[in-house]
């Protein structure tokens, strides 16, 4: 869907912000750009909708080189969520959300319906917020508005620059989940900038790790955690990469590979969990609550029990 082909960006003739990167983004995927500050994530993103020119190489969207497309039209077909939300302070929430449909000349009825649909999607009451102004919203509400503004004209591609940046961890995690749910439904192709490894693992179908403008590794999150290609990536993902990778696997995955032991009928050292629990949470329960075994429930039936030892075996044989 989106192809980067030996893309380089040089600012002011000597600052190499992006250095010869190539990768392919499949349709319907979320690709997270990850890396320390100043490594070229935003610049890479902004070359896609031509907010920055491409110094060398090509970027194509749906087989068309972006440089061959009219930049105004290109931008209207790509949703863009900028770092720091960038809502227009002079416009109401409805005008903000409907900014692109306005440019495209949608009729009143269509805009109104779309506004309702989008507000419902992010759990904000359309009638309550319609006439409000951005400064009358909380940070989290503003970021949701920024996201649905980018989705307004239903673009197949979205660029999101640290869309959940300014949020506290609890709201952040909530909006991440909400967004993943929306993505299930809308299936957009998304480039998503983050500098938070946990966010990248959670949100990304693939993760692109940048360092000083170069692409260090481009892989699925579990692959990056299990097989970092070099020391930089290994350091960046952290010493606890084994633990992190457990969050990408569920009890179900383990059950598919290993046979469970019989759950003991009695004993207080047992806890019940559902089969879709991820292994990191399962392990935490075993550690925090001093349970010796987890009784696994699937569709109201007990299908067996799990110990720390089983998780360890799975980790070594299947993940790392």
């Amino acid at each position: 869907m989106i192809d980067f082909n030996h893309v380089t960006k040089v600012f002011n003739e000597d600052i190499k912000a992006v250095n010869d990167i190539s990768f392919h983004v499949p349709e319907g995927n979320i690709v997270v750009f990850l890396g320390p500050s100043g490594c070229g994530k935003t610049t890479t993103l902004r070359m896609v909708n031509r907010l920055e020119s491409i110094t060398e190489g090509t970027i194509s969207v749906n087989g068309n080189h972006v440089n061959d497309l009219n930049p105004i039209e290109l931008r209207r077909n790509i949703g863009y969520v900028i770092q720091h939300n960038g809502l227009f302070p002079n416009m109401t929430i409805e005008q903000n959300v409907m900014a692109v449909p306005d440019l495209l000349g949608w009729d009143r009825k269509k805009k109104k319906d779309r506004f309702h649909y989008l507000m419902d999607l992010v759990g904000l009451n359309p009638d309550e917020f319609r006439k409000r102004y951005p400064h009358e919203l909380s940070g989290g509400q503003q970021q949701r508005i920024g996201i649905i503004r980018a989705m307004a004209a239903d673009p197949p591609v979205m660029l999101m620059d640290e869309p959940f940046g300014a949020l506290d961890p609890i709201i952040r995690s909530h909006i991440q989940n909400e967004f993943l749910q929306i993505q299930e439904e809308v299936q957009k192709t998304i480039l998503f900038v983050s500098h938070d490894i946990d966010e990248a693992i959670k949100m990304g179908d693939k993760v692109a790790i940048f360092r000083d403008g170069s692409l260090m590794q481009y892989d699925a999150p579990d692959e990056i955690l299990a097989h970092p290609t070099n020391d930089f990536v290994r350091k960046f993902v952290g010493k606890d990469r084994a633990l992190k990778s457990l969050s990408l696997h569920s009890v179900q995955d383990l059950v598919n590979e290993q046979s469970l032991m019989q759950a003991s009928e009695t004993g207080k050292h047992r806890k019940t969990v559902f089969i879709d629990t991820n292994l990191k949470d399962a392990l935490s329960i075993l550690l925090n609550q001093e349970a010796e075994q987890l009784v696994i429930q699937s569709e109201e039936k007990t299908i067996g029990a799990l110990t720390i030892h089983d998780i360890e075996t799975y980790l070594h044989e299947k993940i790392m």
């Binding site: 909708n49 907010l51 105004i72 039209e73 290109l74 931008r75 209207r76 077909n77 863009y80 900028i82 770092q83 720091h84 939300n85 960038g86 809502l87 227009f88 302070p89 002079n90 416009m91 109401t92 900014a99 692109v100 440019l103 102004y133 951005p134 400064h135 503004r149 980018a150």
Partner: protein, 216 residues
């Protein structure tokens, strides 16, 4: 004091006529000044070098004493037979208005939050749409403040236009001086002050009304 009051009551009709002339003079000058200054100020935001030159010129312009400016314009405008009267007065006022209007427009547009400008571009607005929907509305309070400043300044300078026969409340002062009639001079000065204060209040209300709700 009593004398002044009597004078103003007795000459009510005349003072009204001068006031209307004054408003006409300043009003026309400011409308034209806005038509020139706002687009120019906006254009200058795209050309930093030119901006500096033009703002310098406008700065110098405002330091020329008004009497001297009228003096310079008389021979020039005499060429088209308009050496004195309404036309040179309007032109002088337009020139004086340029600094606050151009400068405020320029600064206001320049200072629109770059993130907002970027968002406008990023969602696919062209240059004109960006100006009309985002930059001008967000700059409006500051532009209006410049206009207000120009209007108040022009009400004062407009008094001097009476010396070249442009009419307005300055006539009272002008004639008062030549007849050594202090009461008349005072009446003129007071009328001008009242006009300035009233217009300032009105423009203040207008400015509030024009400010987009989200910026309050």
């Amino acid at each position: 004091m009593q004398e002044l009051w009597n004078y103003m009551v007795d000459n009510q009709a005349q003072i009204w006529t001068y006031t209307l002339e004054h408003i006409q003079l300043v009003g026309l000058a400011v409308v034209i000044a806005i038509a020139i200054g706002v687009p120019l100020g906006i254009y200058l935001t795209t050309n930093d070098y030119l901006a500096e030159t033009v703002l310098q010129m406008a700065n110098v312009m405002i330091t020329i004493p008004s009497i001297a400016l009228f003096g310079i314009m008389i021979p020039i405008l005499s060429l088209i037979d308009q050496g004195i009267g309404f036309v040179p007065a309007v032109i002088a006022l337009i020139l004086y208005s340029q600094l606050p209007i151009i400068r405020n427009t320029y600064v206001a547009i320049k200072n629109v939050d770059p993130h907002i400008r970027d968002a406008a571009k990023g969602i696919g607005m062209n240059t004109m749409q960006k100006l009309r929907k985002v930059e001008i509305p967000n700059a409006l309070p500051v532009i209006m403040a410049g206009v207000r400043q120009a209007v108040i300044m022009n009400i004062g300078i407009g008094a001097i236009a009476a010396f070249i026969g442009a009419g307005g409340l300055g006539v009272l002062i002008n004639q008062g001086i030549s007849r050594s009639n202090t009461t008349m001079v005072l009446a003129g000065a007071i009328a001008i002050s009242i006009l300035a204060i009233a217009v300032d209040l009105l423009l203040g209300l207008f400015q509030k009304k024009m400010t987009p709700k989200g910026l309050e």
